[in-house]
Symmetry: none
Subunit: 418 residues, 2 copies
């Protein structure tokens, strides 16, 4: 039903009850996804299943389909818990056969390390009827490769240091020999200054017309990522398709696109400051350091970060930034004039080219009728003067702070464009 | 065939093509696993599937089984890509019905924030026939709960800040009402000031003797969490077991345990400051605002956060904090005397009870033979004087900064204990 299905696609099945605990991340599947993508293969489903033979048989069968590449990782050890060999054989309707070659290899391997081979290791000498055996240079679990009807199935060891060399040496060439050559090209935009549904409404009329490239949209507080991925028989074709769709999206989004190489906003802003030999200071109230932290998360940011003030209270706004106490009393701290005065104070005291201020009600408490929770003012002082903008954020405390920081960085970016 | 199957078990299905990229980790499923385990529910399979309706229908059907708990996360947004509602309805053989209640709620939600509702958001008002609607306080995607034959199925939003409160409020009580009564009691310690392997070596002789309670140790930069979970037929039995093991662990760890209720260090330190009617200021160099950000992430922190200085350069250490330029020239910024001078400067300028300073080489560049990357000094000024401590951190830039902030907060905590 989906254009992608015309291309080769893969499923990854990780086996092992230990992979189902709250702290365990299946990093193998991330690495395998990257390697498969590089071959032009999409991963369409990833499953983690415990050491349960029946459930694994059923999971493998669910992955069956014409042209499918199915990679199983783990469960090839010598113990009762290691059910992958057995389950894969059952799913394929084949038998397990004992391999004298593997047994000889295992015995030699143990002998070479001066160790006695335990009897249970003999379980590792069973292979699926008709499988090609993939030797394991780093461990005792051989891998297996099976071409079955129109599918390709690999059984791979779980430890990353065994899996990765085996994949590179034995799986990559087998896949290349079996796959139609396709080329994948990608475009990647990051966008600030608009919400996900507004963005989608704006660009959906463009991208929904195309099943190739595939468009994916990802949003977090104040930051949206757009991925376009084209897959064609030649790189020229893929580039042409991407260019066609990308041009239309860029025309709609304009300077709301801040990054085309995946770099986050703090890196882009840092690069712009460095190019202009400019510096920036911060004056933070409700974000309490989060803005400075974002700017200085970039190595080398001391080239352009001039310093900052965490002025959380009225008294500190006056003492650290010179904000007039009468202004605070009259307008409150969450106001346009105070945001400007904070930015001006930070710029003067640090001698920076630009200064950004953030003052707002992050919540959950502290809102009033006039300045409800989420009200945030961002001030920006620079060589061409000072201004401030009011925003109304709608998340919880953490999200409001993150959004305010993203918006503050974006305002500085826009100021530098013009 | 498996003992685990005697207990209620769950499958987690994460939906979204972006979850199948090489860099994306499904952290929701880790959190859900922990939460389900706490209810005595085992997770037997986790699946990640792209925005493909047919494949999702098939994945949901594969999870069916008597007593099964099936949690779907993601794919509830307003766009064409969001296929979870539709696929779950198809898998269950039910229809989707339009809910005027949700539409009204969505309209009110948008109106409350002064925004226009996009037409595509109406898609979010479709619910599976017979489902209970779970309101979403943090976003526009309502969740759904369906009791179907002997199974329990929940559709939950993907963003963690929407998923977690909905799970706690709507899913936990529904599961508790449907599960066989076993009693689970938990103890939870958070520990600062030691590494994971040191801690494990210290307490493993205690906890490895017990299979009930189950002990889990989770470590992140400078912060270790220890969970003990006892599952028994009566709460008294579970409490007695926990008490027996907990007492031994507490004796070994002493005041390195900073929290017994799960509160993070910034909350504990904030509580201690408030109790003592004391305040704290920060002077940050390499952490660039991260320490202030942690302290002010706690609602109400304006009661005790006096303000701070982001003094990233030599010039700013002098201008903002009054650090003697000769001292900087002689000792460099990453030194004991400068850490003390920064803390003293921040304390004087803010009038705070305590001031913490952080100055270090976060990396990747900037290291020298005498002060290699990772060298960090933390200064602490208070009513009983000023001191500084040297640390050698061994992570990357982000981890070193996080570790420095955690250590700084812990030093303040210890100062306040004595």
């Amino acid at each position: 039903m989906n254009a992608v299905d015309a291309f080769p696609n893969a499923e990854i099945i990780a086996v092992g009850s230990e992979m189902l605990t709250p702290s365990k991340v299946d990093t193998n599947s991330l690495w395998l996804t990257e390697s498969l993508n590089a071959l032009g293969v999409e991963v369409v489903r990833k499953t983690i299943v415990g050491d349960d033979r029946e459930r694994l048989v059923e999971t493998i069968r669910a992955a069956f389909g014409p042209g499918k590449i199915i990679l199983l990782t783990g469960g090839l050890g010598p113990t009762e818990d290691d059910v992958t060999r057995d389950a894969a054989a059952a799913a394929l309707g084949r038998t397990l056969v004992f391999s004298d070659d593997i047994l000889t290899w295992l015995r030699e391997r143990f002998a070479r390390f001066g160790r006695e081979m335990a009897v249970i290791n003999e379980r590792q000498a069973y292979v699926i009827e008709g499988a090609e055996i993939l030797m394991n240079e780093r461990g005792t679990a051989p891998g297996q490769w099976i071409d079955h009807e129109q599918m390709h199935i690999a059984l791979l060891p779980g430890p990353p240091n065994e899996l990765k060399p085996m994949f590179a040496r034995d799986i990559v060439p087998r896949l290349e020999a079996r796959l139609r050559k396709t080329f994948i090209r990608a475009l990647f935009y990051r966008v600030a200054g608009m919400g996900e549904s507004d963005l989608d409404q704006l660009i959906a009329p463009v991208y929904t017309k195309y099943t190739n490239p595939v468009t994916t949209i990802l949003a977090s507080a104040g930051d949206i990522q757009i991925h376009l991925r084209a897959r064609c028989d030649s790189p020229e074709e893929a580039d042409a398709l991407l260019h066609e769709v990308g041009r239309k999206i860029e025309a709609l989004l304009g300077d709301r696109i801040y990054s085309r190489d995946g770099s986050p906003l703090e890196v882009i802003v840092g690069r712009m400051l460095r190019d202009r030999q400019a510096t920036v200071a911060v004056a933070e109230s409700c974000t309490g350091g989060m803005l400075g932290q974002r700017i200085t998360s970039v190595p080398g940011s001391s080239d352009y970060f001039a310093g900052g003030f965490l002025a959380y209270t009225y008294a500190m706004k006056t003492a650290l930034l010179g904000v007039d106490p009468e202004m605070l009393a009259k307008h409150t701290a969450v106001s346009d004039p105070v945001a400007r005065a904070m930015a001006d104070g930070a710029r003067e005291r640090t001698g920076a080219t630009y200064a950004i201020s953030v003052t707002g009600v992050a919540g959950p408490d502290g809102g009033t009728e006039e300045t409800p929770v989420g009200t945030t003012f961002i001030g920006l002082a620079g060589p061409n003067g000072t201004d401030a903008r009011r925003f109304r954020l709608v998340g919880d405390r953490a999200r409001n702070r993150t959004f305010a920081v993203q918006t503050a960085l974006d305002l500085l970016r826009r100021r530098m464009i013009f």
